[in-house]
Every structure is written in C-alpha cells, then in structure tokens.
C-alpha cells in the first residue's frame, strides 16, 4: 500500500502543488489539507509547504499556528508522526514551538532565489535517514527571512542532540552555524529553508531534493497511519 502525505494549505501558501507533484515523483500519494480543517485525514506524514501563510502578517508563521489544523498537526507530531516544514513551513514550525529558534531577515537584506549547496550533517531526521553524513546536495532557496537564529544554549543543545540536519556549504543568509535545516529531539519534525520539491526532477536541474522526500516518505510509512 502506498504512503499518503497530507500537504497543508494555509491562505497564502503557494508551494503546495509543487510538493504534491514532487511527492508523486517519489511514489507517494499526496492530499492537500485545508488549514481550517480541525482533523487530518488518514495520512502517514504531513508537509507544511512554502509560501506566505496568512500573508506573513505580524511575522512569518505567527498567525498560522492558530489555524485549526495546527492542533491536529501538533498532536500528530507528539505521537511520532513525520512532519516536514519547508521554507514558510519551517517558519510556522518555529513560531508554533514545534522547533526551537527563529528565522530572521537575511543578512544583507536581499531576497535570495537560487540554487544552494547543502551538506547533510545528521541522519537522525526523517528527511536524511536514508542519506549519509557529508553528502552534498544542490537544492534551491527562495526566501527573505531564512536567517536561522537561536540563543547559545539552544545552539549547544542542537549540536549535542545531533539536530542540525543540513548546513549551507556557502552560507547565503547569515544563519548561525550555517544552519539550513534542523529537527526536533526525536527527529520526526524537520524544518528547512531550501525547497526539496524544486529539485525533484531531472528537468529541474537536480534530483537531490527527491532523495530527501523519498526518505521522508519512507520514514512516514514506518509509523502507523493517522497515529
């Protein structure tokens, strides 16, 4: 039986169809789930895609955490379900407290849009479980507020807990410790600024993102559906 991933759509989300297509590329079923729903359908994993949820009002991700679906996403994550936040989805996860730290404006005040070289730094997370530490990936970034920051204590605990999933080979946005993506202590909740769905087909110039999504789908299928 194939694995089904729920892709959450907030008002202002704009990458949900790209994520759906990319998930199909790696042989998963994908369903778009409206943010106003209070329950998740029967899914094995959840993706919070990129865009501008609720217009990025107040701060990116700040309003999205009040969307009805987020209570369901939180309990899905608490029960060990795989949750992946991409770009704006990463911002939603930090604002919701599902991941530590925050994303601030890029150093240099530039909107960044282009390919980034990434290095896999941990295989603890659901997107890198099938990868190896040191693997290089070429995946596009597309953000204005992607400069990851946290206090020294949080950074130390991320390092100690093997929770720094991906680093930039050449830091484009000023993120502390070159962080491009992190996970929670269990590794089932992951957030990253680069867009793996935009590197999921040879026609897009790279298939490196598909490898991360394939791992995510594989790990999602290990946890009983709708946990």
């Amino acid at each position: 039986m194939s694995t089904t991933i729920g892709v959450i759509q907030f008002p202002g989300t704009n990458c949900e169809q790209d994520v759906v297509e990319a998930l199909r590329e790696v042989d998963a079923e994908a369903v778009v789930v409206w943010h106003g729903d209070e329950r998740l359908p029967s899914v094995d994993g959840v993706v919070l895609p990129g865009g501008f949820a609720h217009g990025d009002y107040l701060r990116p991700g700040a309003i999205a955490r009040f969307s009805p679906i987020m209570s369901a996403v939180r309990s899905f994550a608490d029960q060990g379900g795989s949750v992946l936040g991409i770009c704006n989805g990463f911002q939603v996860l930090t604002e919701s407290g599902l991941l530590p730290g925050a994303l601030q404006k890029n150093a240099g005040l530039k909107f960044l849009c282009g390919p980034a070289e990434l290095v896999v730094c941990s295989t603890k997370s659901v997107i890198t479980a099938e990868s190896t530490v040191g693997t290089s990936l070429r995946i596009p970034v597309n953000h204005f507020e992607g400069n990851y920051t946290c206090d020294a204590e949080t950074l130390a605990s991320l390092r100690a807990g093997d929770q720094i999933v991906l680093r930039y080979a050449d830091n484009p946005n000023g993120s502390v410790d070159d962080i491009a993506g992190i996970c929670n202590e269990r590794g089932n909740v992951v957030g990253l600024m680069p867009h793996p769905e935009r590197a999921a087909h040879a026609l897009l110039g790279s298939r490196d993102g598909a490898a991360l999504l394939r791992s995510f789908v594989g790990e999602s299928s290990r946890v009983p559906s709708g946990v």
């Binding site: 107040l58 700040a62 930090t94 925050a102 601030q104 150093a107 005040l109 920051t149």
Partner: protein
C-alpha cells in the same frame, strides 16, 4: 476601566537589523549626515478593558511574550494610559 495600550516592537540588541542599516546608508544621500544606530521596528496600538493600569500592563506584556513578539529575536516596550473619554 479602558486603557490605551501602545506596544513598540524592536529587534533585540545583537540581532542584525538589515532594514535599519539600509535606511542608515540611504540618509546621507539626502544630505542627512551624522545619523547612526537606526533601528526599524513596529508599533501596535489597541484599547484594553482592565481593572487597573497594572493589570492592563501585565496583560499586554503577556500578549507580547506569547504572540505579539517573537522573544527569540524581538523585544517589546509596553505603555499603558487611561483612555480619555471620547
């Protein structure tokens, strides 16, 4: 009692403020020299029903901690004043 509440949100010291630095770099081109330490923030105002100024201040501060600011990167200054009858 009704109170006028003003919340001033700024990036915390040590957090890069690229918007502030860009404004600072632009000002001399208009002839405004000698400007430094430009910080760009935002202002949130609202009216609040509370028993006392102290309680209003406490509630507004709680709102800042939990929603109006992201304490990882932002600080808030709360000011409370008794609302003047219209």
């Amino acid at each position: 009692m009704r109170f006028d509440v003003t919340v001033e949100v700024h990036l915390r010291p040590g957090i890069a403020d690229p918007e502030g630095s860009t404004v600072e770099r632009a000002l001399p081109t208009l002839g405004f020299d000698g400007v430094s330490h430009v910080r760009v923030g935002k202002l949130i105002t609202f009216e609040l029903e509370a028993d006392s100024a102290e309680q209003a201040d406490q509630q507004a501060t709680d709102m800042c901690q939990r929603f109006l600011t992201n304490p990882v990167i932002e600080d808030a200054r709360v000011a409370v004043a008794e609302a003047q009858p219209a």
